[in-house]
Amino acid sequence: MRLELVKRPQRSMLFSALSPFIAFVLTIIAGAIMFALLGVNPLTAFRIYFIEPISQVWQMHELAIKAAPLILIAVGLSVCYKANIWNIGAEGQFILGGIVGSIFPVLFPQFEGPLVLPLMLLFGMVGGAAYAAIPALLKTRFNTNEILTSLMLVYVAQLFLDWLVRGPWRDPQGHGFPQTIQFNDSAILPELLPESGRANWGFVFALVAAILIWILMSRMLKGFEVRVLGSSPRAGRFAGFGLNRMVFFAFLLSGALAGLAGISEVSGAIGQLQPVISPGYGFTAIIVAFLGRLNPLGIVAAGLVLALTYLGGEAVQSALGISDKVARVFQGMLLFFVLGCDTLIHYRIRLIGFAAPKLETVPKLEEAR
């Protein structure tokens, strides 16, 4: 017996669109089994995991805080992935955005005024883009695999941040805690509706970015270039589009957006630099990008769903005493089922036995001659 994947002659548009929802349902079923094995009533667990975290207005604000970086990073990644360029290092670009964007409030805390925040955001984008330029340069110069280089640079970034906040950038009045000084007020990203919750302008940035990238990809010549080079590079070269230029474009764009997400998170939700500023947003955003079908508008919805898995993880930890690593399990299952559904939409499985299958006779419809 062996399994064979046979390409389907026609792709079903209906199932292509339904795929994320089917994946979501399968994730729920698998999650129910997991909770049952942990000895928790699945219905109770799901209520705590998926319903309670968004049952009050202030909690919706928390959802927006978690969703903003996911969406910002994922729309950038969607451009990379459409171009068949595999930036796996958004987590590192996020961290570098946070670090470079924090130069003003950390090193020049006396510099205040309305100019501070725009400069920080700009520096954050530059930092993320510059860090993303490294794998792009390595790929175009030495033909290295960008999956490996961008991924490895994540760990460099994490350790660099850790060293900074324990060493040169540590708050001298911080009682030895590994963190920088608290940012001054003009370096804090303002809250959107302070009376109802904490959500900040980061969520607005995410929505604007999603709309702009959607226009870029579906309406502009540059988006066409991304799609052509991603789907058939030789046709792209025939069109006069440069693959090397595209590698830089995709990496710089996604790096800048990841950097913007990083500095927004640091100046909005956290207010200072710490050894860890991301619960893995850069990696989760990969799931968001695929769950959203690499479509910026789909990514907004997918970002909200994945943000909920973070909140739910915290909720089940406090209410049921289950590790918040459950969130990672849910995210992993979701990606697994999305990719599985996508595969089965394009291919069907055929079982091939060693025993010869009986050939059915097709009735002869007409004489050929």
Binding site: P9, S231, S232
Partner: protein, 521 residues
């Protein structure tokens, strides 16, 4: 079940059917091959010839139908089964490792553990006895296409098959090499072996085949004795109707017309160890004329096209001149902006992006030249404009399709080629370079494309056509030149060109000295 009583049939196929999705590639095909005959399988591209032989060789499983071998019902589930039965196959596209020797390549497929030296000795003996001289110890990468085909044939013969399937064997040979192959085939026939000969070249089928089975749209449309048919009656059977002849008005005043495309001392080092270098190529194409470049596949045509189109740049700007200006340092976009247009050999994945709509594929080659028309302020694509322009091309070239603006991959090869050629013609380019304009295109569409190229030239453009199809080049060219091993011969005016002369040049007679070589030959 009606058993055929004729015991002399080596292979009998009854009602063989293969369905891919909604396409019935082979529809109840019947075929009998007698012992000791050369049997032709005729049909246009896409008629189902390849699908049929893949089922006979075990690469594809039929959906229904029966195969009898020496009167016994058999199921051919893999190429291994086919080889055991005694069916050998020489593919159109070779499967040889270029970095290994001929003998090593043969050893890989024999899979019986005999030492290389034994295999080499056997191969050498066999090759000389069949008039296909071959040095088994030479590297495949150093061999010509014709010699590589010999390896494939000898590899097949070493397995002592009863039936040998040859898929378009002469498509990669010069006329002289083809003659040698025919001698070998006739000798095999005299030894009682059967040959299934797949081709769409009618003259050679008439010459060597005893019987023919003609396929059209997956169905058998007739069995005949090709010697009693004419080329045009065979063509009618293949195509289903008369093909309109291409009309070529004589070109006038070309000698004084301006040179629109000039290649001067174009040289290119091989990009990979096994690609062909270009050696000092010189060529001029004047306004109003069609120049044809003949040659066996893999002699540098692909490298030449890339260099002329600007997909690969030249060091010396003057090595490619378009309308008198140096273009060697310009990209393909820059050369298009000077008035040149290009049609590459591969349609899907090179000339067109398979998963994109036709309107988007229009943008592919024309986003810069027609920037004002198709791209608005801030780089926004004008969807309506490209849709309208695509529909105009579809109408002008009679592109048949199932939806108003389908994906390129949804079109048949011929219709997609009509669109790709039409996309460039629509610009009225002053220089047009086409590689294999009608490869794999049905006869009707091919005639349409050829006529359009001639008309473009007569309206004052310079047209350069690279093709492996000599008939095509003789039909449309005002002069023919031959590419061999990266060198280009001096163009022969069509009035002086003959199949013999061109064939000798294709085989490597010294470029630039065509007349001299012929006198002594």
């Amino acid at each position: 079940m009606s058993a055929d009583q004729d015991g002399a049939n080596l292979l009998e196929v009854r009602g063989l059917t293969k369905i891919f999705g909604t396409l019935t590639a082979c529809d109840h095909v019947d075929l009998n091959i007698a012992k000791g005959e050369i049997h032709a399988l005729l049909g246009e591209n896409g008629a189902g010839k390849s699908t049929l032989v893949k089922m006979l060789f075990g690469s594809l499983e039929p959906n229904s139908g029966e195969i009898f071998w020496n009167g016994q019902a058999v199921r051919i589930t893999s190429p291994g089964t086919a080889k055991k039965l005694g069916i050998g196959m020489v593919f159109q596209h070779f499967s040889l490792f270029e970095a290994l020797t001929a003998a090593e390549n043969i050893a890989l497929s024999l899979d019986d553990g005999s030492p290389i030296s034994t295999i080499a000795a056997k191969a050498r003996a066999l090759s000389y006895s069949y008039g296909l001289p071959l040095d088994p110890l030479s590297l495949v990468g150093d061999l010509s296409v014709g010699e590589r085909q010999r390896i494939e044939i000898i590899r097949c013969l070493l397995q002592t098959p009863q039936l040998i399937i040859l898929d378009e064997p002469t498509s990669v040979l010069t006329p002289q090499e083809a003659d040698k192959l025919f001698e070998t085939l006739e000798r095999l026939r005299s030894e009682g072996k059967s040959i299934l000969y797949i081709s769409h070249r009618l003259e050679e089928v008439k010459r060597i085949c005893d019987r023919a089975t003609v396929l059209r749209h997956g169905k058998v449309v007739g069995h005949c004795n090709p010697r009693q048919e004419t080329a045009s009656s065979l063509a009618r059977m293949m195509v289903g109707n008369e093909v309109q002849a291409v009309v070529r008005a004589p070109a006038e005043g070309i000698e004084t017309a301006p040179v629109l495309l000039q290649i001067r001392e174009l040289t290119r080092k091989p990009a990979t160890p096994f690609s062909i270098p270009l050696r000092n190529i010189n060529l001029e194409v004047r306004a109003g004329e069609v120049i044809g470049i003949a040659g066996v596949a893999g002699n540098g045509q692909g490298e030449f096209f890339e260099s002329v189109s600007g997909e690969v740049l030249q060091q010396d700007a003057g090595s490619v001149r378009i309308r008198g200006k140096g273009a060697g340092g310009l990209t393909i976009t820059g050369r298009r902006l000077m008035g040149a247009a290009f049609v590459p050999e591969e349609r899907l994945g090179h000339g067109a992006a398979p998963r994109m709509k036709l309107s988007e594929n229009l943008l592919l080659s024309r986003h810069a030249t027609d920037g004002k028309m198709f791209v608005g302020a801030g780089g926004m694509v004008k969807g309506d404009a490209i849709y309208t322009a695509a529909q105009r091309i579809i109408k002008a070239m009679d592109v048949r399709k199932s939806a108003p603006d389908p994906e390129a991959a949804a079109l048949s090869g011929g219709n997609l080629q009509k669109f790709i050629v039409g996309r460039e013609l629509d610009r009225r380019p002053s220089v047009m370079v086409v590689n294999q304009p009608t490869w794999g295109v049905d006869a009707g569409a091919a005639a349409h494309i050829r006529q359009a190229l001639i008309e473009l030239a007569r309206s004052g453009s310079a047209v350069l056509v690279i093709s492996q199809d000599l008939d095509e080049l003789f039909e449309i060219s005002d002069a023919i030149t031959v590419m061999h091993n990266g060198e280009l011969s001096k163009p022969l005016p069509i009035a002086e060109a003959t199949f013999e002369k061109i064939g000798l040049l294709m085989g490597g007679a010294e470029p630039g000295h065509a007349e001299h070589t012929l006198e002594t030959a």
